[in-house]
Symmetry: C2
Subunit: 440 residues, 2 copies
């Protein structure tokens, strides 16, 4: 146990006599305005060696510099980690989880965990500001949009959207393409004239409408879509066009940061972070600033976007640790080359899986129309529930978990978000082929 | 770096050949219905040795069994940790942070981080159920009360309380004893006849009223108090009596789980967790079940207590990791002997600090009336802002941080929640004495 503990804290920090010596040494650095965090051997964390000094040091080891924790099959297995195909909360980049672990007890020499930091202290201020900056860079968010870190998931935004954008007599158009947009549509009825312009329900949400299939309401305050339906696996590849003062609003919970998006085409983009971006507990909204300040009088103060825009997401205590992990993920996505590179990888992973389905001579079936299949959530079925159960059991035995389809649709669903390594998809496809051979 | 990594993962799990050997061994255990986690030497985590097997093993090392990370002055300093007097988010028990760190990359052999777990999977189901069970045990919550894990902080509950308990024409009485109860009172105006029955504002919120100083409204739906005002440091020692069908509602954000509370005297008890219980991002509400199901029609689905009661706090994705850390804190509080023992320790810590103030011949002054001084937040002032600034600077140099009073009141504030070690309070008092000697 002692060895494990020593490892966690770093040999240096655990030894009181070394700490004292280092403490003396650090005082001789006190005048230094900046500090090169890279000048130390990788086995000794600067923050651990010079705790008091490094509190002022903003140069931290970047995600890109992290050693180990790569996503090859050998490394995943050596780490004792499974391939987690859960629909959300979902797998995170292994290197992000490792960095969070490394920093959890004493964040970069601050003497405390991010979980313990005052949200108004200089350490967390730096964290949230960097997270917003990196997020804006990733999504190329224009200056006339506010970025808000919120709570309560997308489900809270189902209420906040009409409360912020509509009066009670205003019309809002909803295109319902799956379970989540249906929930959003129904919740909006409390606050405005929520209008169903198209629903895929009768076709079990297996396709998206073409523009000729629905008629938007002239003068509607907004048109709402769910960019990717997590449960049914349908994903908008391009977006409805809106006219006049009507704005487009998208719930992007399950494909947030999975590909570039032209923010300027939307009034509001919002989503929970727990699929592609971080642990559950944060929702992010990107809101065009001219839409702020018009919330209905009955809007709870915490659901009014202006409350958060006016306070840089610090009106009350935000979910600090979750925002911090999101920030680590943003660094990782930027280090990968930004969302263009991320999209390329996601398309390739999805293609591998859909190809396996489509080349199985019907052993595996994906019910979704090919042109709108999701790159994130891949549902498929087999001939019988018994076959599916056997498949899920064998997958779990091979360290591939959370592949069961949503309870409302059954079958199998592989969620292959940003952080699912290509090795995980390849391992799944290998199982699909061997399972088919054994059961044909 | 390799040594650090090996420590984090456990020597066994990092070595592929050992993993393979253990994998073979584990298969011979497959029939075992249960598994004794304590049968292994403490240096080898069962979960790390037998990852696949232990997924089914719910016996985990308890907080009480954790080695190291005690709260003595020597250990805190050896760990490079500061004494963090922040008002919230606030210091957590060092052993809880260490356990969270130990388990962060691979929770108890599940092959994933708690941050990555499906909220509907068996692992997280076990986590949230145990957290609720332990919380109920700690606070002796009667069966006719629901325990809800919510989001959005107490500020969201400022809206939810009237929305759930009142119609628009109902009266709710508010006793305003500081900044937070004032915010709750003002937010409630949107949803009911929010009635100010007493305010301490003209006396700068330095005392609480006696029952003879206010008149409650007959037939009011509820009387709202803030049990402990974080900013001003006034704390109810006993509670207002309510008549008839009126219920008492308390925001306990800053003294939650700091002492026993007779839940049966309240209709709703609620609070954010980020002071005594866990990282920011969760609010907990204890709601008498007969009050559920009466929310106003305009209530956002996520603010309706019934939504969460009907779904065991899993209506949508909860902040899983934050709930998990709260659960570790509950285990720790139970291991300490429950809230009676915790209260005794808190009273002692507060007494040490207030004694130092009161015996300083006026060098330090606490503005709060003695009988209602908070055991959690201790504000005090000195003769001049310059003295206070010098004190804060010296405290920080000695590793005592976040002592600055809230921006709205100035001075110094020491928040000494459950997890602030007695050693931290003693160190602060030692500084107060030496600082006074040097500046008198």
């Amino acid at each position: 146990m002692e060895a494990v503990m020593a490892g966690q804290q770093g040999m240096v920090a655990r030894n009181p006599s070394v700490v004292r010596a280092v403490g003396d040494l650090s005082s001789s650095f006190k005048g230094a305005a900046s500090f090169n965090a890279k000048a130390f051997p990788s086995g000794v964390k600067v923050a651990q060696a010079f705790p008091r000094l490094v509190t002022k040091c903003t140069a931290a080891p970047s995600i890109a510099e992290q050693k180990g924790a790569d996503s090859s099959l050998a490394n995943i297995e050596a780490d004792g980690r499974v391939f987690n195909f859960a629909a959300g909360p979902a797998t995170l980049p292994a290197k992000v989880v490792k960095q969070a672990q490394d920093e959890l007890f004493n964040w970069r020499g601050s003497g405390m965990s991010v979980m313990e930091m005052s949200h108004r202290g200089k350490e967390f201020t730096a964290i949230i500001q960097k997270a917003e900056k990196d997020f804006r860079e990733l999504l190329k968010v224009p200056d006339n949009y506010a970025v808000l870190f919120l709570q309560g998931g997308a489900s809270t935004q189902f209420s906040a959207i009409p409360l912020n954008l509509c009066g009670p007599d205003d019309v809002a158009d909803y295109i319902v393409t799956g379970s989540w947009s249906d929930k959003a549509y129904k919740e909006a009825k409390k606050y405005c004239k929520s209008n169903l312009v198209w629903s895929g329900k009768s076709e079990k949400y297996t396709r998206l409408p073409s523009a000729s299939e629905y008629k938007l309401t002239p003068g509607a305050k907004y048109v709402h879509i769910c960019a990717n339906e997590t449960i049914q696996g349908v994903e908008f590849k391009d977006y409805p066009k809106v006219d006049g003062d009507t704005v487009l609003v998208a719930d992007v919970s399950s494909n947030f940061c999975s590909k570039p998006i032209d923010v300027s085409k939307f009034g509001v983009i919002y989503g929970g972070v727990q699929k592609n971006i971080g642990p559950a507990g944060v929702a992010i909204a990107i809101v065009r600033k001219d839409l702020l300040g018009k919330a209905q009088a009955q809007t709870p103060v915490m659901l009014d976007f202006k409350t958060h825009a006016d306070n840089d997401s610090l009106y009350n205590t935000p979910p600090c640790f979750t925002i911090y992990v999101c920030g680590l993920v943003f660094e990782d996505l930027l280090a990968q080359g930004g969302l263009e590179a991320v999209e390329k990888s996601n398309i390739e992973k999805a293609q591998i899986l859909y190809d396996a389905i489509d080349s199985s001579n019907g052993f595996y079936k994906c019910p979704v129309e090919k042109s709108v299949r999701s790159c994130m959530n891949v549902p498929f079925t087999m001939g019988t529930p018994e076959l599916e159960a056997a498949f899920l059991k064998e997958a779990a035995a091979q360290g591939m978990v959370q592949l069961k389809g949503h309870r409302s649709v059954g079958g199998v669903r592989a969620s292959i978000y940003n952080a699912m390594p290509r090795a995980g998809v390849e391992k799944l496809v290998a199982l699909m082929k061997s399972f088919q051979e054994m059961n044909s």
